[in-house]
Symmetry: C3
Subunit: 357 residues, 3 copies
């Protein structure tokens, strides 16, 4: 299939600069694109490629200052990244028929399970007693959906996801392979003989609508009540969410971050990768936390930016980090100052003595 | 089902304060509890809820100092957390019939495997040649138990756990979904051409009795001999245990921590989340290591507390961390001191000159 | 089976010191070895065991300086570790017949899939439409190989691995249980209402020949193009590789490390455990990065060694870390210096006044 600059511009409400009949047949990243490719530039880091690229059409922000000549036909839009995302979506719909339907003959579906219309249940998937798979949901091969668990309308559960008993997944949720939802929270009471007694974890996990969860994450069930991932949350891969945690709407968390038990995170927070957050704290809305930070205290003021382990105010923390690098020099300056002061002291005391003479 | 304060108190040897006929039908966390709920307060952080809660019955430590009026009927016990855990266990037994029995018709069980009485083998589970599943063990759907592997009496292996050949799981062990036991240790010999040659990993993993392992953990088999998780150890989710590691009895490790090869950890240690421990070191009994620490050296003295990356003595490390935050101020003080000293020096040398004149 | 020192030495081109007829029947680590065992010493940390060990035969580097008497018969070779690895490999071939063949009757293999000669497809494995499993490849129980995916000659895919549609695995690759290859990259465009719109991820993952990937790793598919793991790369467990990352030949990465999107890592790098690397940077060949480091900038000079979070030059970083530990003392010295300088100032100004009198 070929698309012209004119056709693409009309899809994304863009303005063509160059040949409206320039045509493309596939998409590529700006650094890899060649003739016949459609690409985009949104991140300033990649602007240099604009001038070198052999792409036939490039989507750019209309705010972009073009500094030298560009071979490609440009399509100028308000937000190149979003426009390109929209095109990818259309493209994706065209090339792949992601939606499947029907229950594979090898699947094991409990007689008491409730299966909606147009549902896909893949090979070797297991659907427990009284589970509910709502209309259009996609359960890929080898998934396990426990007793009384629910998967909402049009949600997509990739192969090998394990959802324990009683957990509830909302509508339009995507869960990637290997993720475990509803394993027991980590709760043990220390005994006199040094051993630990397991605290039964009788709560569940609730994942609200439009959430996406990456691969091989673990989200523990609540001791009592629910661990809750609210609407629109996006979790990357290998993330650990402990029992009774709550994550607010539209909060985004990068890979390998861990949130300890009962912590409540606000809405629209942005949390980097490999962050650790202690238990039983509260984090205000719109908090941003830098990668590898360790958060040990509640954040009460919305829109706070934090970094470091232990984490504190982003700007101050960066200053301390910069000085940390200079510590050898600082130590040297301290030593030389000590020497000078000692000499001055000696001189002065000598002088005093000589004065008194 | 309803239970009165009197009935509950008799189960946990507690003392009722308030209405002995107050009754509850379910359990809830203190911050969520409403009329008809049983709850508890053990963590001082949650004491404030005691005075606001609508719970009908609250279990508290008898050492707790009640500072104002409480609506709920109280049951005072020595250890509220343990008592509540005991009740949850009873409750859990009542509401859920966790124990299953029988081999699912879709399971693939080798003819040479030895299956004990009252064992559950779920749908699509695979039991290899000469494997041994002991009496009462629970193998959930989609598990793979390799050739010659053993699972002990009453152990519970949740769906999608993979146990490689020759690994041994003790009695009353719980392993959560997605955990991999017995994958090859990470051992490669560098070659002259820059490539690496795999070192075969011919050992196994031994998990002793009463261990609980969280979801999506990885425990590598030994190069030779055994990687060993001793009695009563509790591992949270997403933990990495490398080849030939030994973890002592009753040691507890929080999520996302990684232990490198051949390291030996003592008994009753408490290790936080996201900790990294280098290989080939020894850690004394009762060591406690703060979250996100990086341990690069052996710990020889039992009961040592450590933090930081690299980790050292907890108290000293906290002091350095506090000063780290003040580095900008310290640098400022150093600069102003340098200036003062320079002025003094100038003054003195001037004076000396004028004195000499 | 028994082997004599003479026989073993001839296999590894070693020189016997001691009884050439000394014989062994199994292998053990030097610290565990007893009579009848073959062992080796390569790491200087373990040299002390050489003199205590009851092993019957020990392989050592011919450069090793023997400082006291050794009971065992020694076999001296250029590289004890590699020689031992070679022996383990032979031993492994003898004791285990790792290679399997045939398609299990319970496996689900698409009619359009292309299955090579001598392939093993285990129980409950799923092979999608137009997938290609090349000659001699081993697909263990419960794996999912997506539509159009490829697994190369003699590659070994352990149980429960999930390979998404269109991903390509080379020859002689080993992938351990639970690893997910080809899940969607983490890409979302922020919307005005605070929610996020998913960017379709239409690329794939290419894993080249001779790569080994540990258990429960996650390797995301590219937004466009390919996430690429080049020849001979070795990845430990629980590693996160984001979309469009490239990892150069023979680079080795320890457990729990995460690489963010579009970063390009050179060849023959050595990256420790729990390292975090930001997106969109380039790392030169032969870079070494210490465990728990956080890398935020490109590394342009090959053979650079880095540590810290944020990471910089290894040696300077260690110096700063050493001073960090001394910060309480340094603060004390600064305080005492301030006091001395204040006294000197006072003295001098007094003097000045008295001089002027």
């Amino acid at each position: 299939m070929h698309f012209t600059a004119e056709q693409i511009a009309s899809l994304i409400q863009g303005k063509v600069e160059g040949d409206p009949q320039a045509s493309v047949s596939k998409v590529a990243k700006i650094e890899d694109a060649s003739t016949g490719d459609l690409s985009f530039v949104a991140n300033p880091k990649y602007e240099e490629y604009l001038y070198k690229s052999n792409a036939s059409i490039i989507i750019v922000n209309d705010s972009l200052n073009i500094e030298s000549s560009v071979k490609a036909t440009l399509i100028k839009v308000k937000d190149a990244y979003s426009s390109f995302a929209l095109l990818l979506e259309r493209y994706n719909d065209l090339i792949s028929n992601g939606h499947r339907s029907g229950i594979d003959s090898t699947a094991s579906v409990s007689e008491s399970a409730k299966i909606g219309a147009d549902v896909y249940v893949g090979a070797f998937a297991y659907i427990g007693d009284n589970a509910h798979i709502a209309e259009g949901a996609q359960i890929y091969p080898g998934c396990v959906i426990g007793d009384n668990a629910q998967v909402g309308t049009k949600s997509k559960v990739y192969s090998g996801v394990r959802i324990y008993n009683d957990c509830i997944i909302g509508d339009n949720v995507i869960i990637h392979s290997g993720t475990v939802i509803g394993s027991d929270g980590f709760g043990f009471a220390p005994q006199k003989d040094g051993s630990y007694k397991k605290i039964p974890q009788i709560g569940n996990v609730i994942v609200e609508d439009n959430v996406e969860i990456g691969a091989n994450c673990t989200i523990d069930r609540a001791t009592m009540g629910s661990t809750r991932i609210k609407k629109g949350v996006k979790l990357d891969n290998l993330i650990q969410i402990a029992h009774n945690v709550e994550i607010g709407e539209n909060t985004v968390i990068a890979a390998q971050t861990g949130i300890s038990g009962s912590t409540k995170i606000g809405r629209n927070c942005v949390i980097g990768g490999q962050v650790g957050i202690v238990g039983h704290i509260t984090i205000a809305d719109y908090t941003s936390i830098n990668a590898q930070s360790g958060l040990a205290k509640s954040v009460n003021t919305p829109k706070t930016a934090l970094t470091g382990s232990p984490a504190y105010d982003y700007k101050s923390s960066l200053k301390s980090q910069a000085i940390f690098r200079n510590l050898p020099e600082i130590q040297q300056r301290l030593i030389s100052l000590e020497k000078t002061v000692e000499e001055l002291s000696a001189l002065l005391s000598e002088k005093n003595i000589s004065d008194k003479k």
